[in-house]
Structures are given as structure tokens and as C-alpha cells.
């Protein structure tokens, strides 16, 4: 799988390159800013772009804006956005275009190499990888709607789904039986008026769409 990295810190750029290479990915370009990122994507048409949010010249949200441009011009490129802080407003921007093949993680997550590589694979395969912090923020904003009808346990399950976990992932996380998880998921869909059909990530998309992102 071919990956482009955009990260302005040399240290992290090299580190990410080494980690992804060691993880079996091919890093075709590693660049320090959004302009070069767009050129690299145009040149290499990679499978996935790993993008830092805060890059030169303004050091604000270049990464998010570049990601949106890539999504419009090259819909086939999966996007994994990294940031020192995850913010709901960035997530809303990012997810406004599409909710597949997209990830938004705290930079800290790269320290957990295995989890991070899993997230890369999940996003490249068309899934989502949202940081638990992002999901929490998205849910807070919409707490005064039918989401409020969910029990705390169901809310927890919904969060895990929004992070991109499968049912078996939720079973492992909550340490409950698979049938219990299925029951929570069904309840969530009933309470949110969503038909309980389709694959895991379609359900995540449905949830995210419901959340208005």
C-alpha cells in the first residue's frame, strides 16, 4: 500500500516513515507542508495520505483544508489526519464531505504502534478511525436530541461504533457477550430510528450522518 506523509516536524516525518515502512507500507513521499502534499498526491496518487493538521505557513488548520481538497479531487485517496489536539470543529469539517476512508486521531496515538497501524489499515480499507476524544465531542454537541434517550451503556456502545469498532471489537472492549452487544446495537438503532441493516461501517456512517457531521 502506497502512502504520502505530510508533517512539518522532521523528527516526526522520519519517525512516521520508519514506522509505516516497518509496518509493511510503502511511503512514496514525505513532505513538510500542504502545498507539497497536494503536489505529491497529484504525482503519486497514493492509497492513503497521513496529514498533520498544523503546518506552515499559518500553523493553524492547513492539514484539514488540504485533506478536503484531496477528498474532492482524488476521492480514491484515504485520509488519516493527525493532530496534537482533536477538536470537534475540525472533525465536523473533515467529515462534512464524506465519512468513509477517513480518520482523525490524536498524535499521541502513534505511540501505540500496533493500534495506529490497525487504524491506517482500517481507513485504507474504506473504514473510519476517529479518536475517542473526537467522538465524545461530537456527541456532546448533539446531546439534546434523541441521543439523550440512550442509556449510558448504549451511549458507550455508540461511541465505540463511531470510533470504527466492529461488534467483536466492542465485545472485547466491554467484556460482555456478543448477544448483549447485538442487543445494545439494535436498541440504539431503534431509538435513533435507523434500520439495523448493513455492515459495521455502514452503521458508523449512519450514526455519523445522524450526528449531523
Amino acid at each position: 500500500m502506497r502512502i504520502v506523509i505530510a508533517e512539518d516536524s522532521v523528527l516526526l516525518r522520519d519517525g512516521l516513515t520508519r514506522m509505516l515502512t516497518a509496518g509493511g507500507f510503502e511511503v512514496v513521499a514525505a513532505v513538510p507542508d500542504a502545498g507539497q502534499l497536494l503536489r505529491a498526491v497529484a504525482e503519486h496518487e497514493p492509497d492513503l495520505a497521513v496529514i498533520d493538521v498544523r503546518m506552515p505557513p499559518t500553523h493553524t488548520d492547513e492539514g484539514i483544508r488540504a485533506a478536503l481538497v484531496i477528498r474532492r479531487q482524488y476521492p480514491g485517496v484515504a485520509l488519516l489526519v493527525l493532530s496534537q489536539y482533536v477538536e470537534e470543529s475540525y472533525a465536523t469539517d473533515l467529515l462534512s464531505e464524506t465519512t468513509s476512508s477517513v480518520g482523525y486521531l490524536l498524535k499521541d496515538r502513534v505511540a501505540h504502534v500496533g493500534d495506529f497501524l490497525d487504524a491506517v489499515r482500517r481507513v485504507a480499507a474504506g473504514g473510519t478511525a476517529l479518536d475517542p476524544e473526537v467522538v465524545a465531542q461530537l456527541l456532546v454537541r448533539r446531546r439534546d436530541d434523541p441521543i439523550g434517550r440512550l442509556t449510558p451503556r448504549e451511549l458507550h456502545v455508540l461511541r465505540l461504533m463511531a470510533e470504527g469498532r466492529s461488534n467483536s471489537g466492542i465485545v472485547a472492549e466491554l467484556k460482555v457477550s456478543p448477544s448483549a452487544v447485538e442487543k445494545y446495537v439494535t436498541n440504539i438503532f431503534v431509538k435513533l430510528d435507523l434500520p439495523p441493516t448493513g455492515t459495521d461501517h455502514r452503521r458508523v456512517l449512519a450514526v455519523l450522518k445522524y450526528l449531523g457531521t
Partner: protein, 431 residues
Amino acid sequence: MTSADRTSRRVGAAVSALWSGSAWRATGNALAALLVGLVGGILLGGLALIWGAAIYSLVHWPVGGWGHAVLYIAVVVVGPVLALWAVQGLTALQRSRLRATLGVDIPLGPRAGERKPWPVGPWLAAATWRQLGFHLLAIVTGVGGGCLVAACWLAPLAAIAYLAAGGPPPAAAAAALIAAAGLLLAAPWAARQVTRADQASARALLGPSHNEELALRLESMTRSRADAVAAADTERRRIERDLHDGAQQRLVSLAMNLGMARARFADAPEPVRQAIADAHDEAVLALSELREFIRGLHPAVLSDRGLDAALSGLAARAPLPVRLRVDVPRPASPTIEAVAYFIVSEALTNVAKHAQATRAEVTVLRERDVLRIAVTDDGCGGAVPATGDGAGDGTGLRGLAQRAAAVDGSLTIDSPPGGPTVIAAELPCES
């Protein structure tokens, strides 16, 4: 010490004072005041004379017919304008005289009546009348004082001329010499006294009055405080940026390398694995602590995306459900937004720590030039700001009040026992 010693010492001091710089400066000032006083007297006296004559002529109907009447009316109307120019010109002249001869700067008052139409505004201002008063006084004191000082210095010449003019009786000659010597010795003292009075009256009448001075000081202190608050804010942003670009990236890199080492040496001997695992966990923890610290310093999202986005992050991270309503159509200044952010942040921290609340509500509204913030919880109430000894759980709340006060805002805490608690703040935002 005998009285003769004391007397001779005094005479010695008086004689040496004749050469002292301060005496000559004071003399120069008195003479300059004499000149400027004369100029002022001629100018103001002339104006008063012409103006008075015009009024007098109008009252006793002009003999020259309508042509003269128009001239007199014109003089009556133009008179105050000329007088105003004369007063302002003389004030400038007197100020530069004091600066040139004594090196004394009389502080400028607020510009007299600048909001009202000219020349009515300046004539309605007390400052103009005080200046006019000084110039009238200066005619008397300046001319009188200058003449007095000059007379003291010139007394010996007058005495010599008197003696040279032809044989006065010895007693009269001796009296003249003694009087001349006395006046000469008194000259430095007289010059200093005249100058002191001149300076005091200039300060009182040309400078700002007590109230004006307070208003000026308040204005300058308000400005410097706003600068200090803004500077502190800028500094926090700079530190945030430095930490983000430096320590934080390095720590992420370190944690990542340790994570990679942990994965690669999964089958190393136990002590090695344990050491790597500990270092890795430690680095991850340090990273998250540093992130929280930097966010407390200045949240980057506040600069990038504004208050609304920053507050929604804050609400999300609170350990209890927070309902957020933000309606700020026009953003406030970065400083005010930062204060608003930290008020909400600290208030929510307080709710989580002390209120035993199950939920909280945050509203931030902009009403014209005021940003209204309210943080409400359904907790146990009884929150009070600390009284200043630094103890108690209210220090955070007291800090909030200080932060609000630093930008001329206010903060009120309504927290009856049993709740609910409402922390409300109003921050001014310039339009």
C-alpha cells in the same frame, strides 16, 4: 559656636549664593517672566480695551451710522476668538519659557472642550479660564517680581551712582551702601522666591487640575493595564507555539520510537522488555500531561477557530454532561475571548470538583458590546470566592473575578446552599 560665628557663616553663605547656578537660573526666569508678562499685558490689555470700547460704542449708539455699528459688532464677535488665540499662544509661550529657563515641564491638561464647537467649547472649559487667570496674574507677578529681582541685583550700581553724583552726607552714604549690600545679598533669595511662586502658579493654573490629572492618570493606567493583559496573552500564545513545535513533537517522536522498540523486542529478555515498556508508558503519560498543560496555557483552537469551537471542546472534556449555547455573531478581541474561555474552563473545573452536580449548562451570548457568560449547574451550591488568604476552595473563583476585572469586566457568583450555582460574567468588547 558663638553668635558671631553663626552670623559670619550666614553672611558667607549669602555671599557665595551670589555665584550659585540656581540663583542665576531663577534670576533669568524672573526676567523672562517679566518680558512675557509685559507681552501678555499688552496683548490682553489691548484686546480688552478694543473689545470694551466696541461694546461701549454699541451701548452709546454709534455716531458714524450703520457702517460703524457693523464694525463694532464684528469686533465684539471676533474678540473672544482673538482672546482665545491670545490665551493659547501665551500659554504655549509661558510653558516654553519655564522649560527653557528652569527645565520644568508643565504637564498638558486634556484638550479643553474639544468635543464642543470651537470656540465655544474652549471658552466653556475651566482650563481656558484658569489659563486666562494665570496670564492676568503674570502681568502683575511677572512684571512686579521681575522688577523686584532686577532692583535687588542693580542696587549696588544705584548706590554707586548716588555716591558719584556728589557728596552726600556720610551717614546717608553709609546707609545707601548698607542698603545696597543688603539688597544684593537678598537678590538670590528674592529670585528664588519669585521663581517658586511663578512655578507654583503655573502648575496650578496652566497644568491639569486635580480632577483632570486623575482623569489623565486613569486613562493612562487603563491603557497600560490593557497593554499588560494583551502582552501576557501574546506571551502565552508564544509559549504554546514554542512547546508545540519543540518539546511536544520531540516527545511524540520519543514515544513512537519506544513504541516501535516495544513491538520489535517483544521476545527480548523480561528485564529488557519491562524497561522498554515502562519507558514507553512513561513517555505516553508525559505526552498527555504536556498536552493538558499546553491546553491550559492557551488552546490553539481558540486562535484558529474562535470561541465557539474552543468551548465545544471544553464542554466535551468535562466529566459531566454540559449543554452549550454560544451565540456570538461578531467575535470579540482575542484577549476577551481568551478570558471568556478561561472563565468557562475554570467554572466547569469548579463544578466538577465541588458542586456534586449531574449536569451543567454554559451560555455565551454577545449583546452589542457586552459578552455575557453564564455557567449553571444543578449541584449543591455554597460556592464562595476566597477572601484573599489563598485558602479554601474558592481560590479558582477568585482568580476568575480577577481575570474578568483585568479587562474591565465583572463576575458574579450566585450559589445559595442547596444550589443551583450560577456563575455569570460580563466582559466588554469594543465594537
